[in-house]
Symmetry: C2
Subunit: 408 residues, 2 copies
């Protein structure tokens, strides 16, 4: 397939499988300048299936860089009121939001004062976005948008066509009928979630080099995969690609140590060899060979950022993992292998989550934060077990293969 | 000078001479994707002089094209509420707005249904912008941003460096001290305006091939140039480049026929050989060898769009005219030669204009419209006279040279 065919195909998947746009619905697209071509294709696909209005917002990281470098300290954290108004509008209209990712300049902020970098992230906007997502007020999806800078970081050369080929294979554009392939894939992932839910594990445990981590679950934790549903019942697939089965842990019950198995890009900085130690669910110690300060600042954002909000399982069948590529992008890399995230919980992965009061959430250990940072902890040498309430361990992933079945 | 030096120099002029940004002031930048480099440089220059917040909004014409091609008829005219909120915010804060122009794809909409093209222009946003500008509620400026598509249209090849050189010379970046050169230039233009105001002409008359047009003025018409002032007293230079001396005519008193001397780009379509006939101040007849339909739609927008809102005089000394280049862009071409505009009047060019009631404006013949379309009518073979109330003609421009002085 040509790059243009891949681009058109991905745009259609984003609209038809991703946000599952309905006639008359609004679509907001948020992207960086290097994503414009794919954003335009998605906008066109959306109008073709009957969108009422497609609104594109291009965020320019260089303007943000100037703010961080020369702007007044007291404005670093500001969110313009109209960006909040824009977000409220699409939520009120029960619309859809499509986010394009794929960092064109991953080191753009790395030479700046990291305290100022961490502040300049429009916290109010992010908090509200996470709230709306957590409570099913938006049909949303994230897709990756290949560009020269991202290709250079990933492949060592700005070969956008090769990156497109890899991205295309992660989202099954190499199948004869990608939409049909997606329906099948969604079924497989949902069966895995069903098998985990049937077991009712009390915790999951990761063991491997530098890792022995037990993530305690709540009795209300519910394993989910691929598809989610808005408050008004619209199914959508938030991540394209997606290979994970995930749930919300009890924020108080993570213990042990974990070593990240892949780099991640955070606030424009590449974080490598991240190692976290947990005690009573809280991150007690942080180490990294690069980007440590950025992680610390993120973790110190609020009370919730010190605790986990997600745990997710991925095996070696992953279309992302099978490319053998480290994409340096969470959307892709988190689907290459198992991962955890500190910060905001996924309320939809908690029984009755969308309707819980703050007190009920606190009782169930459902985390609340203005950040949500995924990092990868799985791989060929990391085993995953489910722990029953009596401590009995049941293999879920062995030698990177999913071994748990519904009947076993 | 290198293109990068020209870009940095233009960005500084835009901030320091154009909007004349003050410490603590907001700056909103509106541009198209191809203008991002200059927009970033302007944002950086703004933060360096103490901007509180710089907000960049990138409008993508391809998304608009998809709306026009596939969007629902009843939404074509929509303005998203948050774009209006954004504009109100900068006005309430007594901020500045910088607009970047330079069409990268001048024929992007030319194959579309022109009725739909004319509708999809966010009329509410434009109307409010023109109101805020007309009443001095914003410090604003427009600059041109060279890009490959614009260079191709202008020069026949996408030679951005050559276009940058031409644009740089129009805004005096080839001077040793461009800021000082601008101060001198502003003085010259203001002296011309003073000489016109001292005469108190009742009308100006253009005569040349295909043109015999008399534009009647109001006793309250005031000639202006280069610099204007916000309602709170901040001077700014709205157009970079600027070479014109302009005023607001009496909308009821234009008579005769006029032939455009340069093409213009309107709604993404190139309009050539435009010819308009006026009777009792109203456009009675429209002809053009291309783009006629787009002009008709614009003129039919509202009652005000059928009448003039501006008349402006430019002689052959113009830095723009001296490049010998037709820039296919109003900001530049209107500064190459004399021009008129149908639609919204410039209230600041009317004695007491900012504080007039709707009835007073109607009495003085000050036009009100949601459009403002300039087109060029001057040149080497077009003479301009000032007509006194008794009909006596005084030469203003002869053989493309300004001949009127304060003492003559």
């Amino acid at each position: 397939m040509t790059t243009d065919e891949l681009l058109q195909g991905y745009a259609r998947l984003a609209v038809e499988i991703g946000v599952n746009l309905q006639p008359g619905q609004d679509l907001q697209i948020n992207c960086f300048p290097e994503h414009l071509e794919l954003a335009r294709a998605a906008a066109d696909a959306a109008y073709r299936v009957g969108a009422r209005w497609v609104d594109l917002n291009v965020t320019d990281p260089h303007v943000r860089r100037s703010l961080i470098e020369h702007g007044p300290e007291e404005e670093l954290e500001s969110t313009p009121s109209w960006l909040l108004a824009r977000l409220e509008d699409v939520a009120e209209r029960q619309g859809a939001v499509l986010l394009l990712v794929g960092d064109a300049e991953p080191d753009l902020f790395s030479s700046l004062d990291q305290g100022r970098v961490a502040k300049a992230r429009m916290k109010d906007l992010r908090t509200r976005q996470l709230e709306l997502v957590a409570t099913g007020k938006l049909s949303w999806a994230i897709i990756g948008s290949p560009n020269p800078g991202w290709a250079e970081a990933v492949l060592g050369e700005p070969d956008v066509d090769r990156l497109w080929e890899a991205v295309g294979s992660t989202v099954r554009l190499d199948e004869a009928d990608p939409v049909a392939a997606w329906r099948e894939h969604i079924k497989t992932l949902k069966a895995r979630a069903a098998s985990l839910n049937a077991r009712g594990f009390d915790a999951v445990r990761f063991t491997g080099p530098g890792t022995d981590l037990t993530v305690g679950l709540s009795p209300r934790s519910r394993w989910m995969a691929a598809e989610t549903k808005t408050a008004w019942g619209q199914t959508h697939v938030p991540n394209l690609p997606t290979e994970e089965v995930f749930t919300t842990p009890d924020l108080r019950r993570t213990e042990g140590i974990v070593r990240s198995t892949m780099p991640l890009v955070l606030q424009g900085t590449v974080v490598r060899d991240l190692e976290l130690r947990f005690a009573n669910g809280e991150i007690a110690d942080v180490k990294a060979s690069s980007g440590e300060e950025v992680v610390r600042k993120q973790i110190e954002t609020d009370e919730g950022s010190k605790h986990l909000g997600e745990v997710a399982l991925v095996d070696g069948d992953s279309r992302v993992g099978r490319t053998g590529i480290t994409f340096l992008n969470t959307l892709f890399d988190e689907n290459a292998t198992s991962h955890i995230a500190f910060g905001q919980a996924l309320q939809e992965a908690v029984e009755g989550g969308a309707d819980m009061t703050a007190q009920e959430m606190a009782e169930a250990g459902v985390n609340d934060s203005s950040v949500h940072v995924d990092f990868m902890i799985g791989g060929p040498s990391v085993d995953v077990d489910g722990l029953a309430a009596d401590g009995n361990a049941v293999p879920i992933i062995r030698e990177n293969a999913w071994v748990l079945t519904l009947d076993a």
